[in-house]
Amino acid sequence: MTKLAAWFEERLGLSAIAKFGAKKEVPRHKHTIWYYTGSAILVFLMIQIVTGIMLAFYYRPTLEGANESIARIMTELPMGWIVRSIHSWSATFMIAILFVHLLSIALTKAYRSPREVTWMTGFLLLVVALAFGFTGYLLPWDDLSLAATKVGTDIPRAIPVVGAWATKFLRAGDDVTGDTLTRFFILHVSVLPLAIFLLLGVHFFLIQKHGMSLPLEAETRKKRLRSIPFWPNFVFREAAVWLVLLGVLLTVAILFAPSLGPSADLMAPAPTGIKPEWYFLFLFQTLKLFPAKVWFIPGETIAVFLIGIGALAFFLLPLIDNRPAEKKGRMASAFVLAVIVYALAMSAWSLL
């Protein structure tokens, strides 16, 4: 056994990782709690991967088969309904914690030098996660998912010059058809997973390279800072959090399983009271606000333009707020808080 271990050690040098893990420490301060959000996202991502593969074993990405195959998963396969319910709810949990993760980093200014690229890959991961949600929403192919996809893929059209092209690309043509479904499926199960693994690899590497960021107050009192070993102390604490989250996820998934409408009819009128997933509500409400035309510019173009500027500002936040770590950065905090308030208010409004 030791001989075998030595053989692998000589070829792989894995003890370097063990050494790194033994040395790695997690600082303890009043903002330590935000460190837990990262691994919680990862837990939900793992659940998404496992349940997603399970669903894909039986799912059929075709106009005729999609809705029927989901119905079969939910009614015929052992535990199928709960597998779908977990996949749907775990997506919601993951995106919710992603928002918390992002905002905690924005407010503790953890994106500042040298962690600018870590922040940017994190923002791109959020975009990929939202794209996962958007493409996944179509796959059950019922009237709600069809309407949501028609609206969602029509939005890029408001962008001048490239917009019409983008819509065409997303829809695989001028309209939402069976080809859109197949395209969304392959984006959901192949293209986006590749993107997320690539980005996660860079994100993790940078986190290890730069170490955990310290919030402002802790940074100034660095000498007296306590820390706990990553392994096993911190990992066990994280595991306790995972267990609680898993319990909540299962409870919610069992009590509130997602429904499945009848197979989408391309000729049918949109169902009344359609709403996108909750994490798109504030964008949905923003689009509703704008009139058809402001002077001579289409209202939608202005809305998409403003949303684009907001997203870009978030992406480039570390470059805009590029002051040294010891400065407070009230402007950046104000911007982030304003976005939070705006998003919450808009979401609440759209639910009224």
Binding site: L77, P78, G80
Partner: protein, 148 residues
């Protein structure tokens, strides 16, 4: 009561407890996953054929039918009874073809041969074709799994 010594240290007891709970938890997750990944295959309990379609068969003649999602062959024997066979090769699961002019079943995958009663006569098949049971009831021929 305080024991003079213990086989376990408190640490090893707690470690064992934690590992045990972890394994039990993992088991409760993996169990349903396995059940989901291996869906129950249900072969039909019985298949009902319209007698009209088969009553013109001559003794020794063989006609096809569907045994669920598998091909079936119904042979009218010399004594007037029906012999239903599942047309799936006993070697590696290929569907077989019936060649009426040779009165033999042929599996193209690995050149396997069965006689008209489904008995393996040449090539790799290790066993005869699977036999079902048939009974004429009123206007229907009812095919069931063979007893035993």
């Amino acid at each position: 009561m305080k024991l003079p010594y213990s086989m376990f240290s408190r640490r090893s007891f707690l470690n064992g407890l934690l590992a045990g709970l972890g394994t039990a938890l993992a088991g409760t997750f993996i169990g349903p996953v396995i059940r989901f990944v291996f869906p129950p295959y249900k072969e039909p309990d019985e298949v009902r054929l319209a007698f009209v379609d088969y009553k013109d068969m001559k003794p020794g003649e063989i006609k096809g039918f569907a045994w669920g999602i598998k091909p079936g062959f119904l042979k009218l024997q010399e004594n007037g009874a029906y012999l239903p066979l599942v047309g799936v090769c006993s070697h590696l699961d290929c569907n077989v073809a019936y060649l009426p002019d040779q009165k033999r079943f042929f599996c193209a995958c690995h050149d396997g041969w069965y006689d008209e009663n489904g008995l393996a006569i040449k090539g790799p098949p290790p066993a005869p074709l699977r036999r079902l049971a048939a009974a004429v009831e009123g206007e229907e021929i009812i095919i069931r799994k063979a007893q035993g």
